[in-house]
Every structure is written in C-alpha cells, then in structure tokens.
C-alpha cells in the first residue's frame, strides 16, 4: 500500500519552517559572547571532567545509551528464552537457569529500560522544547543517572556471578521470601528496585520542576508541546506509584534479612499485601511507560502531516484522565485470588473505562492524519505501527479486564502476548520512531531512510510473527514461565513460529545499530530543522550548543516555528559568564527571576558510589546502612557546598547589577 512505495530521498540539509519568510532577522549574540556562553555551559575535559559532567544533554545521551544497552541485554535474554521454548522438551537451559533468564528479562525491560529510557529522552528534549538552557537541579539529574547505572550493573554482575534473581519480575512472596528463596538472589533484585526507583523519582522531580518553572516567557501551560504534557503527567505518576514498590521491596528485604513478618502468614503477615503494594505500582508503571510515547506520537504525527494535532485540550485532558485512572486498576492483576467478587467487578469497570481516553487520543490522531498532508518518513512509519499493534494489545486488554475471562487467560501465554503488544506497540515502536525523528537533533546527521524502512518492516512483521501465536498458545492452555512442555501438548509448532519471529526482531534491532553506527559518521547533515517541524527544539543548531539557546526565545503559540514571529522575539540580559537561567511563573510563564545553576561537579558521582556501597552492603549486613551513611553524608554535603568565588560573584551581581549588563 501507499506506505511502502512512498519512499523518497533524504531531505536536503536545511528545511523550511524554521523562520517564516517575512520575519526580521532573529537577534543573536556576538560571536565572542556566544563563545563565552558555550564555555560556560560546556562540560569539563578529561576523565575527571567526564565524571563531573552535569549538562543535561550529556547526561541524557549517556542515559539513553545505557538504557539501550540494557535493552540489548534484555533482548538477548529473550532470545535465549525463545530458543529454550522453540521445541518441546527443550534441553538448552535447566529450570534454574531458565527461571533466572525470564526474571532478568522482565526486570531488565521494565526497570532498566522502559521507564528510564523515557525519562532519558525527556531530559534531553524537554528543556529544548520549552526554551530552557538546562534542567532544574542538573546535579541531581547526574546523580540519578549514576545511581541508575550502578544499580543496573549490580544486577547484571550478580547475574553473571550466578546470583541472578529467579522469582519472576513481580517476585511474589512467599516464593521470593526468606524460606523459599535462600541465598542472596532476591536481595539483589530488591535492591535493584531501590536503585532504579530512586533514580526514577529524582528524574521525575527534576522534570516537573523544569516544566513548571523554566519555560520560556510566554509558553503558557496551554502552549506547551504535547510531549511536555505527557512527561508532566508521567512524572506525577512516578511520584505516587514508585513509593509503593519501594515500600514493598523494603519490607521484602527486611523480611529476608532481619526477620520481619510482613509477608509471613504464620505471624500475622499476608502474602497478598505484597501483591497489593506491587500492583499499586505495577499497573501505573505500565501507563507511565506508555504515556510518554503518546507525546512522541503527537510530535511526529503533527510534523509529518504538516498540521497541529486535532483537539489539543482533549488530548491533554485524556492524558490527565489516563494518569489518574491508572491508579484504580491494580486489582485486575489479582482476579484469580479470593478477593470479594463485587470488588473485582468494580475493577473490571475501571479497567474498561480507562480505554476511553486512549480511544479519544487515537481518534484525534486519525483525524489529524486524515486532514493533514502526510509524508511517509521512517519516524512516521514506526508511529503508524502503533495504531495496529497497540490497538490489538488494548483490545486483548479489554478481554483480560473481565473477571470471568481473566480466570482463563490469566498467567497463560495469552497474557505474554497481550503485554508485549501493549508495551512494544505502545512504547518500543514509537520510541524507535522518536529515535529516527530526533537523532538528527542529537547528532546533526540523519539516519538512513532505506535502512530505516528495512528495519521497520522486519520489526513489524517479526513482532507479529513472534507474539500473535502466543495468544493461541495461551488459549490452548500453555501457562507462563514454564521452562519446557511435553511434546503431545501440541504447542511445538506455534512456539517454533514465535521463536522465528523473535529472531526477526533481533535482526531488525541489529539493522538499527548498523544504521546508527553508519549515520553518525556518514549520515546526511541534518541542519537545524530537517523535518520542517514547529516546536522550539528545531530552532537551534543540531546538535544544540552547550547552552541550548544563544538567546532565550519568547513564545506566542504552540508551534512557534510555524506561526508568524512576533516581537519581542528573544530575551536579552542573561549573564553569559555563569550558568544563569530564566525562571518563569508556573501557569503563564511570566518572567520571575534569574537563577544561577550549579556548575559541573564530580560529587554527584562520588555520592552515587557511596549510596551504592550502602545498598549493596545492606544486602549482607544491616550495619552497612549505618557505616555507609557516613560517606553518603560527606558526599552529599560536598555536593551542596557552594564555591566561594561563585557566591562572591553572585553577591556582587546582586548589589551592582549594572556591572553585569
């Protein structure tokens, strides 16, 4: 169909739309001023400097690469799982290894890839989209990255040491408890949770503050790009969802290490308490994986159908509604337990109703495409896959929302198929689209369209070949998480098909890596705005200068680069010699004050090391919490402690502002 044959050559470097013809030349800094600004915001050189970097773009790129590496690792684990299941009575992995494989796969994809990668992309794009020079709390941003990386490394080192967790990614007690999981496997898993949740919460706070206080003058809340709205919604969800699993995993660790009884029915505890705590986090987590991609969708669809998204306010309300309702569904993961039937029906209703906002958004996008002027670039292709795959996943979700149907489908391969349709279709496909879309902004070069199209079709076909048969397998009675199955169950052929599909996905991801590697050097130069997009991140050079904007822009609409520029168009009078940023008011982005953000520092990294020592040590002895608290306190204090020269300068600038004009 038309999607296939509408391939065109890569765009010429400079697209239109960045500046409308009739506009007066945008004011800019004198070269030496621009150089000063670059110096001010650049990361320090050398190894030490590498660990001291706090520039949000540097940290974000590292964050993206790290999460992508975890994605590769999780994918390899998945291939191992598929190989084992490809044929009946598979002998590749014994039960012990297999249980570690799928536990690592699930935990990696959920905790080390899906949630953090969205935040990673956001910490790069949000400041650029809202016309800010940095994120708020750049050092906390760096700390969040380090703590995440160290936590992920800890988990994989444990895995390679044969201490890989083996209780499943939702680690139900009592199986994950002290009696049935001897040794330290589950402790490492639970501490990994603590690491990643800590990181996620900090990133959420950074993003919320950035979005509320650092938008360019004039970017009122209802002029924010929809992607920024999605990140705002997702970040608020993080604040309320993550504490549940942190509390739950802390209780699990104390149960295992110091003998508390939260989950011990023999002493008044209850195994279902864990399920409640975990799913009160776990279900919102699915949505906070799925909501940021909605923002990718809106950005990409708007650009490639050459018009604003239909129904901006409806989209925003739908996002908020989704984020809100997401907290009312968790029990539909527990329909097979002996909870009261009436309560279950309530959660069925809630789980069905949350489909409405999603449906609304899908209709708005379809309307946008219908009334727009489409150009089928690779980013759009990946985004269009969403409409097929997520739609299917959403509909199977409706089946799982029904108490009676769920008793048949729950914990079967049908659920495996469903969750991959939702998470891959809802998050991974748009995410790849986003990479193709913003890669020029990150690197200044375009990814190859031809490889991109190949990757897309391999991925799209491979995905369906791999996961559609699992619906059928589930209905034929194949339960989840079995390391093998007898031949005459008749599941062999479909499993073989699924494995073949899994390897097609692997091949397409390989193509993506090749594409990135090639294009980083030989890709076509992108120029500031290769797609002719309308939002602020495309108004600066690709890759953006260290300070993002030479002069902070003033915003008069939702698509500043598409609309007719108005005056005054930029902000003057920010100090270039220091990391000075403009703070604006929450609702209407009116000028408020000028803040100096802290400069580069290696203390966030050192503090992260100290915290890691504390967490890992606490797996072996509770006293580690006490002893390691000392280096943590030292590290964080040094991190906070101001530099005298800087403060003196600031004081001077406060008392004699005229000297700093």
């Amino acid at each position: 169909m038309s999607v296939a044959d509408s391939t065109t050559q890569p765009r010429p470097a400079r697209g239109p739309g960045s500046v409308a013809p009739s506009a007066p030349p945008a004011p800019s800094l004198a070269p030496h001023e621009a150089e000063t600004l670059e110096q001010t915001w650049r990361d320090p050189p050398g190894i030490i400097g590498w660990f001291a970097a706090v520039n949000h773009k540097t940290i974000s790129l590292r964050f993206m690469v790290t999460t992508f590496l975890f994605f590769i690792a999780g994918g390899l684990l998945a291939l191992a799982i598929r190989l084992q299941l490809a044929r009946p009575d598979g002998k590749l992995a014994g039960p012990d290894l297999y249980n570690q494989l799928f536990t690592m796969h699930g935990s990696t994809m959920m905790f080390l890839f899906a949630v953090p990668v969205m935040q990673a992309v956001a910490t790069y794009l949000v400041p650029l989209m809202i016309g800010a020079r940095s994120v708020a709390f750049p050092r906390m941003n760096a700390f969040a990255y380090w703590i995440f990386t160290l936590g992920g490394l800890m988990l994989f080192i444990a895995f390679f040491m044969g201490i890989g967790p083996d209780a499943g990614w939702f680690a139900y007690v009592p199986l994950s408890g002290p009696q049935y999981s001897p040794g330290k496997r589950v402790d490492f898993w639970a501490q990994m949770i603590t690491f990643t949740e800590l990181s996620a919460i900090m990133e959420a706070i950074v993003l919320i503050t950035t979005i509320f206080k650092m938008r360019a003058p004039g970017m009122t809340l209802n002029r924010m790009p929809l992607f920024v709205w999605t990140m705002l919604a997702a970040s608020f969800m993080v604040l309320f969802a993550m504490p549940a699993v942190m509390l739950g995993s802390t209780a699990l660790i104390t149960d295992r290490l110091v003998g508390t009884h939260f989950y011990n029915p023999g002493e008044g505890g209850d195994a279902l308490l864990w399920q409640h705590l975990f799913w009160f986090f776990g279900h919102p987590e699915v949505y906070l994986i799925f909501i940021p991609p909605l923002g990718f969708m809106s950005s990409i669809i708007a650009t490639f159908s050459r018009r604003p998204i239909v129904g901006y306010s409806a989209m925003v309300l739908a996002l908020i509604g989704t984020a809100f309702f997401a907290f009312g569904l968790w029990v539909h993961h527990m329909f097979a337990t002996n909870l009261p039937e009436l309560g279950k029906t309530f959660f069925t209703a809630a789980s069905l109703m949350i489909a409405i906002p999603t449906a609304l958004q899908i209709f708005c996008w379809i309307a946008t495409l219908w009334s727009g002027r489409i150009s089928f670039k690779t980013p759009l292709l990946f985004v269009l896959a969403f409409f097929v795959i997520l739609l299917a996943g959403g509909l199977t979700g409706l089946m799982l929302a029904s108490v009676s149907l769920d008793t048949q489908l729950h914990d079967s391969f049908f659920v495996v198929a469903h969750l991959h349709y939702v998470l891959m279709g809802g998050a991974v496909f748009p995410l790849f689209g986003a990479f193709y879309y913003w890669f020029p902004k990150f690197t200044g070069r375009l990814l190859s369209e031809r490889l991109g199209k190949w990757q897309f079709w391999l991925f799209f076909i491979g995905f369906n070949v791999a996961f559609f048969p699992m619906h059928v397998l589930g209905l034929q009675g194949m339960p989840r998480r079995i390391y093998t199955y007898p031949e005459e169950m008749g599941w062999g052929s479909l499993n073989m098909v699924a494995t073949a599909g899994a390897f097609m996905i692997g091949a397409s991801v390989l193509l993506f890596i090749v594409n990135v590697a090639r294009s980083r050097r030989h890709g076509a130069p992108a120029g500031p705005n290769p797609w002719g997009a309308g939002t602020l991140e495309w108004s600066v050079a690709s890759p953006p200068p260290a300070g993002n904007f030479e002069m902070v822009p003033i915003v008069y609409g939702r698509y500043p680069l598409w609309e007719k520029p108005r005056l005054p168009s930029h902000v003057a009078g920010l100090i270039n010699e220091h990391r000075e940023v403009l703070i604006t008011s929450v609702a209407d982005a009116e000028l408020d004050h000028r803040l100096w953000l802290p400069a580069s520092s290696y203390w966030p990294f050192l503090s992260a090391l100290a915290v890691t020592a504390l967490f890992v040590g606490s797996i072996f002895t509770p006293w580690a919490v006490v002893w390691a608290a000392v280096p943590v306190a030292i590290g964080t204090t040094m991190w906070f402690w101001p530099k005298r020269s800087t403060s003196d300068m600031r004081v001077a600038s406060e008392q004699h502002p005229e000297l700093f004009k």
Binding site: P95, S371, G477, I482, E488, G534
Partner: protein, 359 residues
C-alpha cells in the same frame, strides 16, 4: 523427558462446540488449531466440557466478536485516513489555520466515535457481570467435596466426607463423577500455586494462609489435564494434574477402592519389596495405607498403581519410568524433594513388583 505412549484414558469425547467456530475470527487459529488439537491431551480453554467453562466460552465468543469488529472499524478508518490524505513533505507550508478556529466538524465526529466506544465498553461490562452471576449460580446439591493442597511440585487431594471413615487421600489425579458438581477447597502448603483446568473452569489461586474454593462440573466423560499456572519455583513446569471424569458408578467403584488399605503382598518378592519400602528412605516421606509407612511429606502411594502418571503428570506410570524415577529423580525433575535411591538391582525390582500391586 517426553511421554512415550499417552498415560490418559484414551476415550476422547466430542467437544461441546467446534474449536474452529469459537475462534473463527482468528485466522491463524483456523490453520493451526486442528493440528494442535489432534494429539493434545485435553488442556484447552477453547473446548468446554463443563458448564462453567461453557459460560466463559460464550463470554469469550462475544468479547472476541465485539473486539474484532472494533479492530476492523478503527483500522478501516486509519487506512482511509492514510489513503485519502494529501501527500506533503518537509517543504509543505504547515496548515495552522486550526489554531485560529477550532474544527467543530471533526470534534463532532470524534465525540460520536468516543460515545460509541463507551457503549461497546458498557456492553462488555454487562456481559462480564452476567457471566460471573451465571458462574456463581451453578447448583451444588450432592456435590463432591475435595480439598486440594498445593505442594512444590505436586497436588495432594483429600476427598471429604461427613463420615470420617469414608474420607481418603490421593495425589496428582482426581476422579470425578460426570454431571455432579465438584467443590474443590484450595490450600497451599508452601508457595502460591494456581489450579487451572481449562476445559472445566478458569483459574483459582492457592495462597498459603488462605483458603479459596472452585466449583465446576464435568458434563462429558474424559481425562482433562490441568497445570499449575502461578510460577511456583524450579519445577513449576512439571506440576500437572489429571482429572478423570467418569460415570457415577465407575466413580463410586474407584472411590470405594481408594478407601481400602493397600493389598497384602502375596508373593515373597512383593513381600521383599515392601520390606525395602519400609526399610529404606521411601517410608520417611510416603504413606501406604495398611502399613507402618504413614509419612505425609510425599504423595500417598496407597493406590499408586491405579494412577495414570507419576511425578505429578510428568511421566506415564509404567515399570520403566517408575524405576528410573526411583533411582534418579534429580535428572528427570531437578530440585524435586525425592532423593536418588541407590539400591541393589534385586531390591529395586522387588520394590517395583510391590508398587505394581498397589492397584
């Protein structure tokens, strides 16, 4: 470790409804389901042999139909959009007129679409409520009461009766009368397990410290396979359960046999075998009614020879597999509590002879 020769009662009943019709909207199933259905033992949510599974099957058909319809409609709209929309590229001047004046027409269409989806969702909710009421309303008079206890990794079944003398215990294989309701009380001895008999009813968790019940009825004689559905540790994959549904008379005969103690060994070899059983580690974990072996850690072996499988549905119950299982279970089912038993060949054969008498 695949099963050579099927341990199941071979009589394969006629399905209540054809699988093909059930899933007629899923093309891939049309191709593959018959192939899969041919040889497989009965463990299939799409083929109902009991009233409860039928209710759920009906709900499944309705939901699948509605969802498929929605899928088709939305996809059609989507394809039309892509088809009919004009083409553009990065140079196309963006059309921002919608920022000035909202597009009422489009909003109206979207509102209608959302409204219709809401109606569809309400229909699903209604169907679900109706189904759960139907499931709850299954009549329970003269039901068979079974207490099913999950262990890592096998099933212990206690047939309840008002008269304690008529109660008995067996493992990994239930027999139930066709057409009579069965009330299964679910408990767990260690971690969370889940009972799933797809052809008869949906799942129900067995949670330590809690009890729950599952009620179902088999309307067709046959052997139905169930499997633990909640991940329960190393051998989660090897925790299957057979349910043999047979006419009431046969069931009564079976139950009567189960209430008997094990027969006295007749020959010297079998007597030797019993000595081996009682003298070695076997008696430390297993019970055999009518002997001094009364440990409850492992499955009750009083009528072992009457069962279709050993190692909880993993191996067919024949002399060869039984011998292999006794001498080296850890290779067959790594992590199982059954230890390897090194004994002289003649002891082993005597033991096997004895066990084969436990009809």
């Amino acid at each position: 470790m695949s099963m050579h020769g099927r341990p199941f009662a071979t009589r394969m009943p006629q399905p209540v409804r054809r699988p093909a019709r059930l899933v007629s909207l899923v093309p891939l199933v049309l191709i593959l389901a018959p192939a899969a259905a041919a040889a497989a033992p009965l463990q299939d949510a799409l083929r109902a042999y009991g009233v409860q599974a039928e209710h759920i099957g009906r709900l499944w058909n309705f939901t699948l139909g509605l969802c498929a319809l929605v899928f088709a409609l939305v996809l059609a709209a989507f394809v039309c959009a892509l088809w009919s929309a004009r083409r553009g590229d990065a140079h196309t001047e963006p059309d921002i007129s919608s920022l000035a004046r909202p597009e009422r027409g489009i909003y109206r269409i979207i509102a209608w679409a959302v409204g219709i989806s809401t109606v569809g969702l309400l229909a699903l909710l209604g169907a679900d409520v109706v189904t759960s009421r139907a499931l709850a309303r299954m009549p329970l008079q003269d039901a068979v009461n079974i207490e099913l206890i999950g262990h890592q990794w096998w099933w212990e079944a206690r047939y309840k009766d008002a008269d304690p003398a008529r109660q008995f215990t067996t493992a990994n294989e239930l027999h139930i009368p066709v057409g009579r309701p069965v009330v299964v009380t679910l408990r767990s001895n260690d971690v969370i397990h889940t009972l799933w008999l797809p052809n008869l009813h949906g799942k129900r968790d067995m949670i330590p410290g809690r009890t729950s019940t599952l009620t179902f009825r088999a309307d067709q004689p046959g052997t139905y396979r169930g499997q633990c559905a909640e991940f329960c540790g190393l051998e989660h994959a090897m925790m299957a359960l057979l349910v043999v549904a047979e006419p009431d008379a046969q069931y009564q005969a079976w139950a009567a046999r189960q209430r008997q103690p094990a027969p006295e060994p007749a020959t010297s070899r079998t007597r030797r075998g019993r000595e081996v059983f009682l003298g070695k580690s076997c008696a430390m974990c297993h019970a055999i009614g009518g002997t001094t072996a009364n440990a409850v850690f492992g499955p009750d072996l009083t009528h072992l020879a009457g069962r279709g499988t050993i190692a909880s549905g993993m191996l067919p119950n024949n002399r060869g597999h039984l011998g292999g299982w006794i001498s080296d279970p850890q290779t067959l089912k790594p992590g199982v509590s059954m230890p390897a038993n090194l004994m002289p060949q003649e002891d082993l054969h005597a033991l096997l002879d004895y066990l084969e008498t436990l009809k």
